[in-house]
């Protein structure tokens, strides 16, 4: 008679119990439910009370104001904006300005940070001391002070528009910012862009192909001459057939300022400079710590394979260091984004300045506006964290220990 193997007892119920109630089991579950209920009740009471009292004091409440006309101007907008647009539009303008300065700041902070870290670890005595000096100087001065320094001491020292520094009479630098010729799309613009996109896709496919060749047969294919040919050649060809893609509107001094052309306002430059150099100092230390955390045997092993120092760092050390670097790097990105709200001190029209500033005082609806603003910063931060976590997850997978 065959003996039937005894089935193990069902783990499902036990697991469920543990997930819902922790180590305390079902009773823990009940406690949690009660706790959540109490929290929701308190939140509800706060909202209801605030609403009743706002009404009692006849303070306008609600989000109806978002559709009202703003009636004030903003000097940098990425989407079309005039003073007859609504507060919703102002909100979007401010949000985009915040995102712009954050994204560009993060980019430069990362580049400068990595370079400074590599410089600090370099065997070159002078380079490493200069990099070390940079870190100590920049990270130990208050950020607001640095923003004001760039704005009031450096950029304000530039000449006025009438005496601006001009480069070929088409690019002008003055205390009103950097004015450059503005490209205006011609009929040939769309074919030009299409050709450029085709070229980029072709280059990407080509480099994948060359990688596969390298791994499969050890053949090294030089990609860059083809890539250059494609990226330059195809759009050029399109331009020859369909005509010049853009014409340039050259700025000219008219009245107090330059008319025509595109302008980068000094507030943006000062803020970006200050944010990226400041955050770069912290990133440099994070990267340095990450690199030093990789066992030096890895470096020696790389060298013994005949790789140069740069290649060892790029191919072997940094990918391993990234695991250590990533979490604190994310913190720095979040800090930079939130620090961009110091913009109001130098008149850069970011979210806090135009929305939590001008809009708030014009409408007086502090609770709603501060609520929205806090929510937006939270959302930006959560998205940044999510992207960085995803990158970390992929990195972990490619290092084989997900």
């Amino acid at each position: 008679m065959a003996i039937e193997p005894r089935k193990p007892p069902s783990q499902f119920v036990a697991k469920l119990q543990r997930i819902l109630g922790g180590s305390a089991g079902w009773s823990g579950f009940v406690v949690q439910i009660l706790f959540v209920a109490a929290l929701s009740w308190i939140a509800y009471e706060i909202v209801a009370n605030a609403r009743a009292n706002l009404q009692a004091q006849r303070i306008t409440a609600g989000f109806g104001f978002m559709a009202n006309t703003a009636g004030f101007d903003v000097n940098q907008y990425l989407i079309p904006y005039t003073n007859s647009d609504s507060y919703t539009r102002v909100f979007l303008v401010g949000l985009l300005n915040t995102l712009l300065v954050s994204v560009i700041g993060i980019f430069f902070a990362t580049v400068i940070g990595f370079l400074v870290a590599l410089g600090r670890l370099s065997p070159n005595w002078l380079l490493s001391r200069v990099a070390g000096g940079y870190v100590e100087l920049v990270r130990n001065l208050p950020l607001l002070f640095q923003i004001l320094f760039w704005y009031l001491a450096v950029l304000a020292a530039l000449p006025n528009p009438r005496q601006s520094i001009s480069i070929f009479d088409s690019v002008f630098v003055s205390n009103r910012g950097l004015v450059i010729p503005k490209p205006i799309a011609n009929p040939g613009f769309e074919p030009f862009v299409a050709a450029l996109l085709v070229a980029i896709v072709a280059v990407m496919l080509l480099s994948r192909y060359s990688r596969r060749q390298l791994f499969q047969s050890g053949k090294v294919i030089k990609v860059w001459p083809y890539a250059l040919g494609l990226v330059v050649g195809l759009p050029l060809l399109a331009a020859l057939i369909f005509g010049a893609p853009v014409t340039f509107e050259v700025p000219a001094l008219k009245g107090f300022n330059f008319a025509g052309g595109s302008r980068v306002i000094p507030e943006f430059v000062a803020l970006t400079l200050a944010l990226s150099t400041y955050t770069a100092a912290f990133i440099a230390e994070i990267v340095r710590a990450g690199i030093l955390s990789v066992h030096k045997g890895q470096m020696e092993a790389g060298s013994s394979l005949g790789l140069q120092r740069g290649s060892v760092l790029r191919l072997i050390v940094i990918p391993q260091a990234m695991r250590v670097i990533l979490p604190p790097l994310t913190n720095q990105y979040l800090n930079l984004t939130k620090n961009s709200s110091l913009a109001v001190a130098i008149g850069y029209p970011d979210l806090v300045s135009v929305f939590a500033g001008t809009t708030l005082s014009q409408t007086g609806q502090a609770i709603e506006i501060i609520g929205i603003t806090m929510g937006v910063y939270l959302l930006i931060s959560l998205i940044t964290s999510a992207v960085m976590s995803f990158y970390g997850w992929r990195l972990g997978r490619s290092l084989g220990n997900s």
């Binding site: 009471e45 706060i46 009370n49 605030a50 009292n53 706002l54 009692a56 004091q57 006849r58 303070i59 306008t60 009636g71 004030f72 101007d73 903003v74 000097n75 003073n83 009031l152 304000a156 006025n160 205390n175 009103r176 008219k254 009245g255 107090f256 300022n257 008319a259 306002i265 000094p266 507030e267 709200s341 110091l342 109001v344 001190a345 130098i346 008149g347 029209p349 806090v352 300045s353 135009v354 939590a356 500033g357 001008t358 708030l360 005082s361 014009q362 409408t363 007086g364 609806q365 502090a366 609770i367 501060i370």
Partner: protein
């Protein structure tokens, strides 16, 4: 600035969430033994600390007058310096009892902020300050100019209206505080600085060479500046309102800081009502019978306060203009005390 307004907002939310509207401001102030008065972060003539740290100015004197009327002591005040965008939240949250901070009376502020204006302490209008070297004689020549302004004021909207109405282009750079805007103007970032005309005269004094700058003749808006109190406490509203009226009435009757004791002995019926030797008008307000003498002893009549802070007797040297009494060519007018 951001942190401050955030703090006020949280205070506001918490205050609104936990307690009912502050109905008894006078009692609260008396219990505290001190009046909490919201002022500017430094606008000479209206509210600014002197070299000893004492607050002076026309807006400050309104608060001093209220404190004098309540406590017979014009020093029982806590001054809370506020930026333009934090001021209303500070009032709503109960942080201050009176907002006396060169604030323009508008319909939307009267209706949507949960606060009331108690009167007009200074009739102002918005103007422009430019460098003399630009050789600009009129605001209509400002096409394409860059304009520095403090954010969170009616100024930004007037500016937009004015340039739009005159078909002119401009660039606005809005700063968190007045000082930052003035500094940017001085550094050459802007061609023009704009705020209320009285503010332009005050801010011009802060510049390195005041004589190199000129206030353009155009006044592009009506800016009646006055104190504000919270909705829902009519007694307190009356006290602040009638404090200003008492100062104006005192000027009208020729009562000054110097002669107030003598005048109080007058047996003219009108004087007797005002000084409380007849009737109990002060007590009806919730104050004492001698409330007017207390006020005038502390800060003088309206004309004296004006002269001392912004008028002929001050560095600003602004003419009375609209702010003269109604019977002297201006529009300052107080309802009768009776």
């Amino acid at each position: 600035m951001k942190r401050v307004s955030l703090a006020f907002t949280l205070a506001l939310a918490a205050g609104l969430a936990t307690q009912a509207a502050h109905a008894q401001t006078l009692k609260t102030v008396k219990d505290r033994g001190m009046l909490s008065c919201g002022v500017s972060q430094g606008l000479p003539g209206f509210s600014s600390p002197d070299d000893k740290g004492n607050w002076t100015g026309l807006d400050v004197d309104i608060c001093r007058a209220v404190a004098a009327a309540i406590f017979n002591d014009a020093t029982k005040i806590k001054f809370v310096p506020l930026s333009a965008k934090d001021r209303f939240t500070a009032l709503q949250s109960g942080e201050i009892d009176v907002l006396s901070r060169n604030t323009t009376w508008t319909l939307s502020r009267d209706t949507s902020l949960g606060a009331n204006f108690t009167g007009v302490t200074y009739y102002d209008g918005q103007g422009f300050l430019v460098k003399k070297s630009l050789k600009v004689n009129s605001a209509l020549e400002l096409n394409s100019a860059s304009v520095c302004v403090q954010t969170g004021t009616t100024t930004e909207q007037n500016l937009a209206d004015y340039f739009k109405g005159n078909n002119m282009k401009y660039e606005v750079i809005a700063f968190g505080t007045n000082d930052e805007a003035v500094k940017a103007y001085e550094s050459g970032r802007c061609d023009v600085f704009t705020t209320d005309v009285s503010g332009l005269y005050a801010d011009r004094l802060k510049l390195a060479n005041p004589a190199d700058h000129v206030v353009l003749p155009e006044v592009i808006s009506k800016e009646p500046l006055g104190p504000m109190v919270r909705h829902g406490d009519d007694q307190w509203f009356d006290i602040v309102k009638w404090t200003l009226f008492a100062m104006v009435t005192a000027e009208e009757l020729g009562v000054t800081q110097k002669n107030v004791d003598e005048m109080a002995k007058s047996d003219k019926p009108e004087m007797k009502r005002v000084f409380g030797t007849d009737g109990n008008l002060g007590e009806q307000l919730g104050l004492t019978k001698d409330w007017v003498s207390r006020i005038v002893k502390a800060v003088g009549n309206y004309g004296e306060a004006f002269d001392r802070n912004v008028g002929a007797g001050s560095k600003l040297g602004i003419a009375r203009g609209l702010n003269a009494l109604w019977n002297k060519g201006g529009i300052q007018y107080a309802p009768p005390i009776r």
